[in-house]
Symmetry: C2
């Protein structure tokens, strides 16, 4: 698809032009509703194309697809068919949804295939095998290093030589809409001798994006930066919930653990790498020459506008952060090349999150920790409210979209309400 050079495509589905889910996007997800069990779909405007219904009615005649492939309850097996197949499915749906194409528009099964999006429940799109969280925004790492260590040496010596990352908890990755409970744990006041215990006092979000791998490797093999994108199926928005006080007490020397593992929330529609092609952008210039396995021949950054909204239980939505995925110092090809340089095998459905995406100015900061500078400068919200960290009843929403030359491709949202700690 050479979207940029051709006239703007339109769909016969109404109201898609300014939607996140234009005919240029066509992300994959898993949904269910009162009538239908879990199944794969493609989003278009305020509708979902039920891929299983399309398949049943013979709309994929030239694509080799196993029976019930869209009824698996996750996309893993579909993605494993490989890009030649998944691309063909998306392109076929694009044809069928095009303004001039009558095949589905005028077909009697149209009503069965096109589902109203607001009536469904979105589920996890993939079963996540392993989940890695990188730390690839220089601004974020600098902010954190300044606050917790030394403003004059905010970045640690390894930071510009490799994309620092750590293993996260896969079981607690949940889709948008599912509330989370405030985590309990240990934290220690520096003034006190012993740790305290209770619900976290410093609950935070982290604005991230994550890519999902679409191909396995064998142990011992590495992926080059040149080949990396062949292994990437698509992207979601990622909210890496964090409990700053728990994290601060536990993380030396083995890294974040319970300060993170209680929940991570994602947007439920996987936007394919193909759909993001128009938004490809250069990454920041790397100030230190990297080792050969981290060198890249082309741009692997993407110009994706990101926003975070905070809504108190009784109050309006406040836009509290505007950032962009293009600020990432380390790109996706470098992240995947680094992840596998030691021979670590990857699997279909793994998730690789970017780390908090902060930018150069204060409005770009992707966490409460940075926005309020450790709570020292509370955010002023509508209605005279203020916030140092996230409170019970608050809802955090993240949105993201690319827009260029009349083409819009968005991620929808990841929206999560925070409930009080269980058993308190």
């Amino acid at each position: 698809m050479k979207e940029q050079k051709e006239a703007i495509m339109k769909s016969w589905v109404s109201g898609t032009q300014n939607s996140d889910f234009t005919i240029y996007n066509l992300p994959f997800g898993i949904f269910k509703n009162k009538r239908l069990g879990p199944r794969a779909g493609i989003a278009i405007g305020d509708k979902i194309v039920d891929l299983s219904a399309l398949h049943d009615h013979g709309f994929f005649p030239d694509i080799k697809l196993p029976e019930r492939i869209f009824l698996e309850g996750s996309l893993n097996r579909f993605i494993r068919l490989g890009k030649p197949t998944t691309k063909k499915v998306r392109e076929r749906v694009q044809q069928l949804l095009s303004e001039e194409n009558p095949d589905l528009k005028d077909h009697q099964v149209r009503g069965k295939v096109m589902i109203t999006r607001k009536d469904v429940e979105m589920l996890m799109p993939v079963e996540v095998g392993d989940y890695t969280d990188f730390y690839s925004s220089k601004e974020h790492a600098t902010n954190v290093g300044s606050m917790f260590r030394d403003p004059d040496n905010a970045l640690l010596p390894n930071w510009k030589h490799l994309p620092v990352g750590y293993h996260g908890r896969a079981s607690s990755i949940i889709p948008s809409g599912q509330p989370i409970y405030r985590p309990k744990g240990q934290f220690k006041d520096p003034e006190k001798k012993e740790p305290d215990f209770g619900p976290t006092r410093k609950l935070d979000f982290e604005l991230e994006m994550a890519f999902i791998t679409g191909k396995d490797t064998k142990m011992g093999d590495s992926i080059s930066t040149e080949d990396a994108e062949d292994y990437i199926f698509g992207f979601v928005l990622f909210n890496d919930w964090s409990a700053r006080d728990i994290q601060a007490w536990e993380y030396v020397p083995l890294g974040p653990f319970l300060g993170k593992s209680f929940a991570s929330s994602i947007s439920p529609w996987i936007v394919t790498l193909e759909a993001l092609e128009p938004f490809r952008a250069p990454s920041p210039i790397q100030e230190v020459e990297v080792l050969p396995y981290l060198k890249c021949q082309k741009d692997h950054g993407f110009d994706i506008n990101l926003e975070v909204f905070l809504q108190p239980e009784k109050g309006n939505e406040n836009l509290i952060c505007k950032s962009n995925y293009k600020y990432m110092y380390w790109n996706i090809a470098q992240q995947l090349a680094h992840q596998t340089i030691n021979g670590c095998n990857i699997k279909v459905g793994d998730m690789y999150a970017s780390g908090t995406i902060s930018g150069p100015t204060k409005e770009n900061y992707g966490s409460m920790l940075e926005l309020t500078w450790k709570g020292s400068q509370p955010l002023q919200l509508e209605g005279g409210k203020e916030r140092k960290f996230i409170e019970d009843g608050d809802t955090v929403k993240m949105k993201g979209y690319g827009e260029k030359g009349g083409i819009r491709v968005g991620f929808g949202e990841v929206t999560t309400k925070v409930l009080p700690a269980k058993g308190n």
Copy 2:
């Protein structure tokens, strides 16, 4: 089963008395051979009981078992049936294998049910969802802290207040017998300004045990130390392969990543918690009073003798470490209570490794790092060889067993050969 108070049980299977796999043990695993596809079995002496064949021939008449439950290729779905069921299956097999019981011994299908163990390939017993590695041996943490930080303050302030742990990589956990490739990566000589790149120069093993969970929890829920064992199905030996130079350069501030994720090896037979009951033992006295959620009402330690052998490519096996699981400062109930205190959900098939199990004397040290004190005191091997770390062609074998009052329950072994880095 009240093994301790009764006369010693014997099996009609020959040569089981001094085996790791006595009639008191009966661990579960997944095997295949030239004739049979992947299936569940129970080990006894040098045989395996093919559970699927037993099931097919009606040997579990009073136990509610789904069809093909033993042909799933992993034990996850079987374990998920719950302890009342998995215990009944093990007890029924124990009856059938007892000296005095003719039901299987004299049955015409005996030849089909009893498989020769040396002819099979052992596979991963479970699909591992998440894998946590704890750091629960005080001796190990003290040794590492002394070497890398400060001998006078070897343990960090949090260490005695919580079982420190981190998330590990699940995809690269492999069964005994599968060789590993030496990992490549970045490491930095403190004398140099820039990092170097190549195959690790400091490949190490870590002697650990891991427990496997047998029951899910919901997000937001925590498991008490009192209930923790209800969630534990069984144990394996665990070799947490480590590349010390890669780890040293990467691990600040987010913890170990590529220095660990290239491989972890396990013994393929899951020894059930029930089988370890005779070896229950007190843990070391905790010097600092722990928070209420970490307090225990009973012993959760186990007296399991552990051994590590190192065999060069052309040379004999050398016993290089003798340790014991009972040295663990933090026990399994505390580990699971801590893992879930923040509401992190656990799943059937998760693996929770102990961290390196070192003891008070030098022969108890569970890694080359400690045994050679960072390479400064090379190990002397048979035939005039010496080792600072693990070399290409070396085979590392770990064994473990409990023995008490004539009852022996062993883990078999986890044996792994190290191959040169791929592509070099």
